[in-house]
């Protein structure tokens, strides 16, 4: 029963959603809108569940002094500090208070400082490290080993050159035309083929889930 009810629910709602898409009837629209409200509620519960799971896992790690448990202390401290400053702030009269329903917390100077001077530099640093790894990878990987690799190499150079104002407008214009063709024709054709493939794959997987063949969402394959 524990397995059959979820499978039945997925089947009923899955089939309904497929047919609903093609049915403009007002009842069908009403049920669709009603179901859409559930997504909103599920989203909020999923977030609450995520936060609870993070606290639970981190607490367990700290309690049992598992490997790298110090990071969990930082995670929990950051979570609670940001949460505290996010729901407290100063109103128009400069009085401090708790704000659960409005955005005063987001303008709290401490929240802004943590966001602007800790979170932003950390994330941007991680992202900017890509420049170093990409350049090293480009040096090692972009080699004219065969015809296809040479085509890739030349295409990459052309696309990069079009961004480069050092070579003047004439070269830039020429490169721009070639790069535009590369992006709009071969790139777009390949991407469309991939997208169509992904789309068909998604339909296939969705059908397997709806028909109860694929049951990975229940925690078992």
């Amino acid at each position: 029963m524990k397995r059959q009810i979820p499978v039945l629910l997925v089947f009923v709602f899955g089939v309904f959603m497929i047919f609903q898409y093609f049915s403009p009837h007002e009842y069908s629209e009403w049920i669709y809108k009603f179901l859409m409200d559930w997504i909103y509620i599920i989203g909020i519960f999923a977030m609450a569940l995520g936060i609870w799971s993070l606290i639970h896992v981190s607490y367990d790690k700290i309690k049992n002094k598992r490997h790298d448990w110090g990071y969990s202390v930082v995670t929990l401290a950051a979570l609670f500090i940001m949460m505290f400053f996010g729901i407290t702030g100063f109103d128009e009269n400069g009085e401090w208070g708790f704000y659960f329903m409005t955005q005063e917390g987001l303008t709290n100077p401490m929240f802004r400082n943590f966001f602007n001077h800790i979170l932003v530099p950390i994330e941007t640093t991680m992202f900017s490290l890509l420049a170093f790894f990409i350049s090293s990878a480009a040096y090692r990987a972009f080699r004219a080993r065969n015809v296809l690799a040479t085509m890739l190499l030349v295409s990459a150079l052309v696309v990069m050159l079009r961004f480069n104002p050092y070579f003047g407008e004439a070269v830039g214009l020429y490169m721009n035309k070639i790069a535009a063709w590369l992006l709009n024709v071969p790139n777009m054709a390949a991407k469309r083929a991939i997208l169509i493939g992904i789309g068909l794959g998604m339909v296939g997987t969705a059908l397997k889930v709806v028909l109860g063949i694929e049951r990975g969402y229940m925690g078992k394959g």
């Binding site: 409200d37 909103y40 989203g43 409005t102 955005q103 350049s135 040096y139 480069n164 104002p165 535009a180």
Partner: protein, 317 residues
């Protein structure tokens, strides 16, 4: 006597810095090129050092290039230009701080453009951190540059809602259901910007700024296509090639990476000279990006010289 004949040297410290840094980078690359001819590999740390110098030098000695908008960027600009004052544009901040250096300039420039044209803006986000990024636009663009623009009348921030595509699936039919109030708790019906707006179908333009998931793809799939809503985007450079298949039928235009943002900033300054003194971070960032690209290209060439020489040596054996 000679001083009268020679033109006066008008080099500033910044110019000298630019010339010196370019000379150092060019000299270093030439040295590596000569080493490559002798079949000597370049160490990873040397590549890192060159990238570091090529990024830092244009930051210390700013180099700003004039950008000309490419058609895909111009389409977004022209669409906003074509909207009559009072039209409602939805700007979705679908990004986090990691993407912010690339896409925040787009959000700021588009906000400037919409506000100067007298368009009304609905700000929202599908990323929880997008809310914080909007505060940056509010503090750095709207409040200092448009003090006459009034919250709830000229723009409104409805914030973040959990649910990813689910949020879009609801607002395509009913905005109020998902956003009964703005972030300050002001009821939907009291917000002037929402006058005449029941769902996304009533919007004149939707622009998603981001590059992750949920992002522009979800906006196209769940709002643009089913609701026939004009959609444009500003995305990180790594995502831009993935979005080309949607242009121009399903996405009217796109700002791709810093280059796209710089083109938009340049176009904005060109059409609205009052923004000449406004910050143009993307145009400034094009300097480091351009030089870093050149250095990467030089390393690709060096790598290929090494490879070809090695292959030649292998054949001889």
């Amino acid at each position: 006597m000679t001083s009268h004949l020679m033109p006066p040297l008008a080099l500033t410290l910044v110019d000298i810095g630019r010339i010196l840094s370019l000379a150092v980078i060019a000299g270093g690359l030439l040295w590596l090129f000569l080493r490559a001819i002798k079949r000597k590999e370049v160490e990873r740390r040397v590549i890192f050092l060159f990238i570091f110098v090529s990024v830092v030098a244009p930051i210390l000695f700013p180099t700003v290039f004039q950008e000309k908008a490419t058609p895909i960027v111009k389409d977004v600009f022209d669409k906003i230009e074509s909207l009559p004052p009072g039209s409602v544009v939805l700007l979705s901040y679908d990004f986090d701080p990691a993407m912010a250096p690339e896409v925040q300039p787009m959000a700021d420039a588009i906000s400037r453009h919409c506000l100067v044209r007298g368009l009304k803006i609905i700000y929202m986000c599908l990323f929880a951190t997008g809310q914080g990024q909007f505060t940056s636009t509010l503090e750095n663009v709207i409040k200092p540059e448009f003090p006459d623009k009034v919250n709830l009348v000229d723009y409104v921030n409805i914030g973040y809602k959990a649910g990813n595509e689910g949020v879009l699936n609801v607002i395509i039919t009913d905005f109020k259901k998902m956003f009964p109030t703005d972030v300050d708790g002001v009821p939907y019906d009291s917000i002037a910007v929402f006058k005449g707006i029941r769902s996304c179908k009533d919007l004149d333009l939707v622009i998603s700024i981001g590059g992750g998931k949920p992002g522009i793809k979800e906006w196209i799939l769940f709002v643009g296509d089913p609701g026939n809503v004009p959609i444009a985007s500003g995305v990180a450079a790594v995502v831009a090639p993935l979005m080309y298949p949607y242009y121009p039928a399903q996405m009217l235009g796109m700002l791709g990476g810093i280059k796209g943002a710089a083109e938009y900033e340049s176009e904005l300054v060109h059409h609205y000279p009052q923004f000449k003194n406004s910050p143009t971070p993307a145009l400034l960032m094009m300097g480091p990006q351009t030089l870093a690209h050149l250095v990467i290209m030089a390393f690709i060439v060096i790598g290929n010289i090494l490879y070809l020489l090695e292959r030649k040596k292998g054949r001889k054996r």
